[in-house]
């Protein structure tokens, strides 16, 4: 049994708005073991990004607040920690990269300054040593001519190169867990392939775990060992990657997988895509019962009364569905 790094239990991150309480994350359980890649998938507004940001406590409070739950990092609950204590964990133990590398880099500092800042904050080095460290990190992420490029500003890099810079910055303190929030969504497909390969390479080199947040099922299938599927603030299914794609149990997961056109299957053209009817429900005062019930083909009266808990249907495969 591998060592558990992160263990989120019953997490509820809610946001107070003028219209009422938005239950963005509403009772999420998620475990990540040392060295594994766990995918968190779901559509816009399902709470996957809020879950990730909750781990690093990057949620503005107010309007947000932790309503319930624990976030255990190597056995220690992060929720009660103050800013100083969190700063010991950020970057050094858990690092994050975001979807849009342009908006997450500071445009008025060189990338070298920004990476060196992270290194210096956590490793007591001279500015010169930190800058050398920054150049070394750029070399590691395969940026050509790193000695010169450390002195360039973010706008002088292309989208794919910026994401490499973000990865270099995130890995500069050799974290145990990298949270990657839609790291390739803004990139073209050939550049996406480069970045995914780089993340894999870095993972092997540093032995870190990755929490990969994405809406792209193809990316999950190619990179993750385990997958958690979220819908409207709840986990609906969790399984090893082969089981999730080979034997999806939750009607939402099934719909999600079947609604993607497949270029590797000759029959796909002319056949209609399976679609899930309707749209995602509002997270403002959601109704009791299964959040997916209104769109589910198999829904019965039971489904609208209480949210079914996650139950194990096979080793490591848990589903929140009455079926």
């Amino acid at each position: 049994m591998a060592e558990t790094l992160l263990d989120i239990r019953g997490l509820k991150t809610w946001f107070k708005t003028e219209d009422g309480m938005v239950r963005a994350v509403d009772g999420v359980d998620l475990r990540i073991d040392r060295g594994e890649t766990v995918g968190v998938v779901g559509e816009s507004g399902c709470g996957k990004t809020v879950t990730a940001r909750s781990v690093l406590k990057l949620i503005d409070m107010p309007p947000g607040r932790f309503e319930a739950g624990t976030i255990l990092w190597q056995g220690r609950d992060l929720i009660p920690l103050d800013q100083d204590e969190m700063n010991q964990i950020r970057a050094r133990e858990i690092a994050i990269i975001f979807q849009e590398p342009m908006t997450s880099l500071n445009p008025v500092y060189t990338v070298g300054d920004q990476i060196a800042e992270v290194i210096a904050l956590h490793q007591k080095l001279s500015p010169k040593q930190a800058m050398a460290g920054a150049a070394e990190m750029l070399r590691l992420v395969n940026i050509p001519n790193p000695q010169k490029r450390v002195h360039d500003y973010p706008h002088q890099f292309s989208g794919g190169m910026r994401q490499r810079v973000m990865i270099a910055m995130a890995l500069s303190c050799q974290p145990k867990l990298l949270i990657a929030d839609e790291p390739t969504t803004a990139l073209d497909v050939t550049i996406q392939a480069q970045i995914l390969e780089l993340m894999q390479e870095m993972k092997e080199k540093f032995g870190m775990a990755i929490m990969l947040i994405t809406h792209a099922m193809g990316v999950v299938a190619e990179t993750c060992q385990r997958v958690t599927v979220m819908y409207a603030g709840k986990v609906v299914e969790e399984a090893p990657v082969e089981a999730l794609f080979g034997d999806p149990r939750h009607p939402y997961t099934q719909g999600l997988i079947r609604s993607i056109p497949r270029i590797d299957r000759a029959v796909s053209r002319q056949a209609r895509l399976e679609s899930i009817q309707g749209t995602v429900p509002s997270l403002l005062n959601p109704p009791p019962g299964c959040r997916f019930a209104a769109r589910c083909r198999f829904a019965t009266d039971v489904c609208t009364q209480a949210m079914p808990p996650l139950k194990e249907v096979a080793p490591g495969h848990r589903v929140a569905c009455v079926l």
């Binding site: 392939a193 270029i263 895509l273």
Partner: protein
């Protein structure tokens, strides 16, 4: 000529050697200091009732091509023939009539609908411009009919765009395009901003409408799986040029151009049991202000030879309907 319609049907659109250069201004007098070659000699045909997919990565010129066809952007040179008429020389009344036949659906359903107009007015606007609704009652009936066609409710006409989800807004955009009974619809990344479950709904709707109204689509997208699913034929663009055109399945089964090959191999497959060899392209797409000489792709091409930097490859037919522009493939 390139991309001859292999379906054997009636030709609806013919594009020949289309070029669009954008000026890059600089200096204190805003002189033109450089030019971006966004579209650099594109040719293709679209047959009546077919869907031509246009794929490529950001900045390859696919959207500019689509907009030049509608004359939303003025082409720098080249010919565009629609039902035998030269689109590039039209103005005034002819152009208005053309726009009744050609419509566009945009990528971002949040930015492409006027937030101050109710849905009924958004859809009805084109009916007024083209004088297709003689009375207010006729207008309302037509709007209701259009809303129902795209799977919305009649009472939605009294609501504003912000009251709808992304998928519903895209349906409104489709209803607006359909209002004038067009022959050709340019779909510019119509599902890219949508979640996968919603994406499937919109793709199915577009396919149903094509069948129902005999529509022809130019389907522009960067998602190769979506394009393969919906298109009859697919054209692949790289840095302003078409590098390959073939019937959809043929292109995916037997890609000839090294760029098409790399592009297809980079698409993640949603099945963990499928293991593929991936062709990794090195580096980024070059700057379109100074595209590489010869074949634009030679700087990243795994099979490039010295003369690829000198000679521009012609788009040539290697087997019926399959066109490729590479000196060493096909």
């Amino acid at each position: 000529m390139s991309g001859e319609n292999p379906v054997g049907g009636e030709e609806l659109l013919r594009v020949r050697d289309l070029r669009k250069r954008f000026a890059v201004k600089g200096g204190i007098f805003s002189r033109t200091v450089d030019q971006v070659h966004a579209v650099d000699g594109v040719s293709f045909d679209i047959g009546k009732g077919e869907t031509l997919g246009l794929v490529g990565e950001s900045g390859c010129g696919k959207s500019t091509t689509g907009r030049c066809i509608l004359r939303l952007i003025e082409p720098s040179s080249g010919d565009i023939w629609f039902k035998g008429a030269d689109v590039t020389r039209m103005d005034g009344e002819d152009l208005r009539a053309l726009r009744r036949d050609m419509q566009i659906i945009f990528q971002d359903p949040y930015a492409s609908l006027n937030p101050r107009l109710k849905v009924g007015a958004i859809i009805g606007e084109a009916l007024t411009i083209h004088k297709l609704a003689p009375t207010p009652k006729a207008m309302e009936e037509r709007v209701v009919q259009l809303l129902e066609t795209v799977g919305l409710q009649p009472d939605h006409m009294h609501r504003f765009p912000h009251e709808f989800s992304g998928g519903q807004r895209q349906r409104i955009g489709i209803a607006r395009a359909l209002a004038v009974e067009p022959k050709l619809i340019v779909c510019d990344e119509p599902v890219s901003a949508l979640d996968v479950s919603i994406q499937a709904q919109v793709i199915n709707l577009l396919e149903d409408l094509q069948e129902q109204f005999g529509l022809t689509y130019l389907f522009i997208a960067h998602d190769l799986s979506v394009v393969e699913h919906i298109s009859t034929r697919v054209a692949v663009m790289y840095l302003g040029r078409v590098v390959e055109i073939a019937p959809s399945r043929e292109l995916y089964d037997n890609p000839l151009h090294p760029y098409t090959e790399a592009l297809l191999s980079a698409v993640p497959i949603p099945d963990p049991t499928v293991k593929r060899t991936r062709i990794m392209l090195q580096g980024d797409v070059p700057n379109p202000i100074r595209p590489p000489p010869g074949c634009h792709f030679h700087t990243r091409c795994p099979i490039a030879k010295p003369d690829c930097a000198q000679r521009v490859p012609e788009l040539r037919e290697t087997k019926p309907g399959h066109w490729v522009s590479c000196h060493y493939r096909g």
